[in-house]
């Protein structure tokens, strides 16, 4: 019987293999395509690292956290103006160093506990504490008295924030800053419930409990994040019942899913497909401004860029219209100043120069480098690949036509940042995206001289600009304030430590099933405003 026994062993072996491969298909094959119709599904290219509002710092995570948490204020979808959220109203003293916020009653976290002033005190102190490892807390909350000492680990208490009673929050600033409130719509300034954060059973970064229009119900890493409408939300209810962020790393796959009707919107368009998708009638194309500016930066302390004429020669040679329309295929649009058009208080057309190679030639001659002769070897550094690389190549070729030879070198983002902060480059291309839609966050960190060594990467110092930015920060009247900021912007452009090239733009495609596609000027898909047809 040996033969039979051996044969049956082999048969069992094959049968087991077959079972592993095929049986699950038969057992579970009937799928579960039971998605309810009032669901909005969108494709994101990466998994959030954290959904703790204190830690979110990338578009994907901020877009979700913004709808899980409501801070003191929010931003108007179209204009980015500050609008009330948990705070019903607020006022400041005359020199803009003390703010009092009056909180709405009856706002609840999704665990049922009421949001009180103490939750903000806790949230802000926690966000700034070194253990939280937040990359945005200090950028947003820096003006608050004691923020620097807390972030540096010198104290464990944020002295400038206090709950006068359950519904009154008092904030004292280190320096005057009339526009302080406009920073507070960032998730990092949202309240968090202490008992949930300190619940050892669930990591808050993966199980956030908030007070926003949505509640997180499922998060499978690198697969999908599911949000459900918060039935107890104090504000205007969202139209959709559920929002699903599917993590689809390959943009071409995401577009295929969109066309097959499996996702309703795609945030990242595949490289080089902008034009094709714009003309594709089976999908809808959206393009809107983002609060980012791309510019050519100089280290104004290093030769030859310590010479204003050399910087001007470069500035007159920047063909930003060609770069925006041809090189970047309309993904970005020409900059008309430092502050992007989507920021409240933007002033149009403040550039003191345009593309004119004759002016470049003239400036070079005045600087003592006629036709580019005698210029030292120069390298233009840029981070990453994609638009930055394309822009750098276009700049290189235009400069060459004017006799200016530059090498271009692309670097990994981390290495680029290290070298930029250590002062190791004197000519570079970067993009600045502000954390909040305020003029201040485009001008103060970049050009106020106390930021040299950190965000003032140009080593730029002009006492007049410092004074204007200081005056703007302490001016309580919004028109007066904007006036100071605008004047500072014009002065900076005249000194030219950098040349703005393009403003960022978000381009997305979405399905005709989406009846109202709402995108905020901050770059978010407005999950609370979007509507889908329920068929």
């Amino acid at each position: 019987m040996g033969i039979f026994r051996k044969r049956s062993t082999k048969f069992v072996w094959l049968a087991m293999l077959f079972a592993v491969a095929v049986a699950p298909v038969i057992i579970m094959g009937c799928g579960e395509e039971t998605s309810s119709s009032n669901v909005f599904t969108y494709a994101e290219s990466s998994d959030p690292a954290s959904l703790d509002p204190a830690q979110v710092d990338e578009v994907v995570a901020i877009n979700i956290a913004r709808y899980l948490f409501d801070g003191l204020v929010g931003y108007d979808t179209e204009t980015s103006e500050v609008v009330p959220a948990v705070a019903e109203s607020w006022e400041s003293n005359s020199d803009a160093t003390e703010f009092t916020f009056h909180l709405r009653k009856g706002v609840r976290f999704s665990n049922g506990s009421e949001v009180k002033a103490g939750d903000f005190v806790y949230a802000w102190s926690r966000a700034l504490a070194p253990d939280t490892m937040s990359s945005t807390a200090y950028a947003i909350l820096q003006p608050v008295m004691g923020a620097t000492d807390l972030a540096d680990g010198k104290t464990d208490k944020l002295t400038g924030v206090e709950a006068a009673d359950d519904y009154t929050l008092k904030v004292t600033l280190e320096f005057p800053m009339a526009d302080f409130v406009s920073l507070l719509g960032h998730p990092v300034a949202a309240p968090v419930p202490k008992d949930e954060v300190e619940n050892a059973q669930f990591r808050f970064a993966e199980h956030p409990v908030g007070n926003g229009p949505f509640i997180l119900t499922e998060w499978k890493h690198d697969d999908q994040v599911v949000l459900e409408k918060n039935p107890d939300y104090y504000g205007q209810d969202a139209s959709i019942d559920q929002a699903v962020a599917r993590i689809i790393p390959n943009p071409a796959t995401a577009v295929a899913e969109l066309k097959a009707g499996n996702v309703d919107a795609v945030r990242t368009i595949p490289a080089g497909q902008t034009e094709a998708l714009r003309n594709d009638t089976s999908v809808k194309f959206f393009q809107g401004p983002a609060n980012a500016v791309r510019f050519l930066a100089f280290d104004v302390t290093k030769p030859p860029f310590d010479n204003q004429k050399v910087r001007e020669a470069f500035a007159w040679d920047m063909d930003s219209i060609k770069i925006a329309d041809k090189v970047l295929q309309g993904q970005e649009y020409p900059a008309d100043g430092i502050v992007p058009t989507s920021i409240p208080g933007h002033q149009a057309d403040v550039m003191p120069y345009s593309f004119d190679p004759e002016q470049t030639a003239k400036r070079l001659e005045e600087a003592g480098f006629p036709g580019g002769a005698g210029l030292p070897p120069m390298t233009l550094y840029y981070p990453g690949v994609g638009p930055a690389a394309d822009t750098a190549q276009a700049i290189q070729s235009d400069l060459k036509k004017s006799g200016i030879q530059v090498e271009i070198t692309g670097m990994d983002e981390g290495a680029f940042r290290d070298q930029m902060l250590s002062g190791g480059m004197s000519l570079f291309l970067i993009s600045w995206q502000a954390d909040a839609p305020s003029i201040d966050s485009f001008l103060f960190p970049l050009f106020e001289s106390s930021n040299i060594g950190a965000t003032d990467v140009f080593q730029y110092a002009n006492p007049e600009v410092d004074e204007l930015l200081g005056k703007a920060r302490s001016a309580p009247d919004v028109n007066q304030r904007t006036g100071f900021y605008n004047e500072a912007e014009r002065k900076i452009l005249a000194d030219m430590p950098m040349v703005p090239i393009t403003f960022g733009q978000d381009a997305m495609v979405y399905s005709p099933r989406v009846t109202n596609f709402v995108h905020t000027s901050l770059g978010d898909i407005a999950l609370d405003k979007i509507t889908v047809s329920q068929t």
Partner: protein, 316 residues
Amino acid sequence: MPTTRFIFYRLLQMLLVLFGTVTVLFFVIYLLVPGDAAQAALGNHATPEALENLRRELGLDRPVWVQYGIYLQHLAQFDLGTSQELQRGVGGIILEYLPATIYLTLAALTLETLFGVGWGMLMALRRWPRLEALSSVTSALLLALPVFFLGMLLQYVFASRLGILPISGTGGWNPLNLVLPAITLAAAQTAIIAAVTQSSLSQEMDKPYILAARARGLTRAQAMLKHGLRNVSGPVVTILAIDLGTLLGGAMITEIVFSWPGMGRMVYNAALFRDVPLVIGTVLVLVIIFVVINTIVDILYGWLDPRVRAGEQANG
């Protein structure tokens, strides 16, 4: 006992491999990957003092060999450390991603085995000139097509055009979602296994024991299944075992094309963020799996091929 000694040497070998892996990876990542984990965590606005504090806390201010020593010490206590980017335990992260990877790997291996061996057997059964031409063209195509391209081609044909299979994602572990990524992953290896099976089987089929079996009245196919196949299992199993290692760690491109939440994508992102503990932890786990599998395979050889056993007994 030879078996215990065998296992003892195997374990010793495994420890050496693991130690080498940790050492090489640690220094390669430390020296070659640019950027600073503290700056990455705190962002551009961080004060120099906050950066210093965090570097001290993470141990980044110490000399690299001290950091290496600390890491080894934790490892000896089975502590893989905490991911610097995700701020949670490396062990937990790996456990989260491992099931999707194993699921896809097993599916691809199954496809490779069934189709590769089947294809090889068919070609070894007898000479079919037309089929042989088709076979070598198919084989060349499967080996030459880049994974990225093959994946998107399958997506386009079977999902976008014909609409019979899902485009990407796990679909809540729907097995239909597994089909296209498994085919993509298995394609090139199927061709290799087919070629190896065919060439070794063809040689076996001319040997006297097959002729003897034929003389007993078995058909050529029966003789192949009954006697020939078992004698070529060695090379095929060797390829499969090596594959298992590459599949577990190297399915990144397939995972990206099909939005599959596996370890390849995870470790790729970890490397981009210079997340040293997560990269080393993941690679270590993969190496352990790989070495364990290979040990099992070595034992399997004996079971599958009596000649190996006979040889061992003769030597031992």
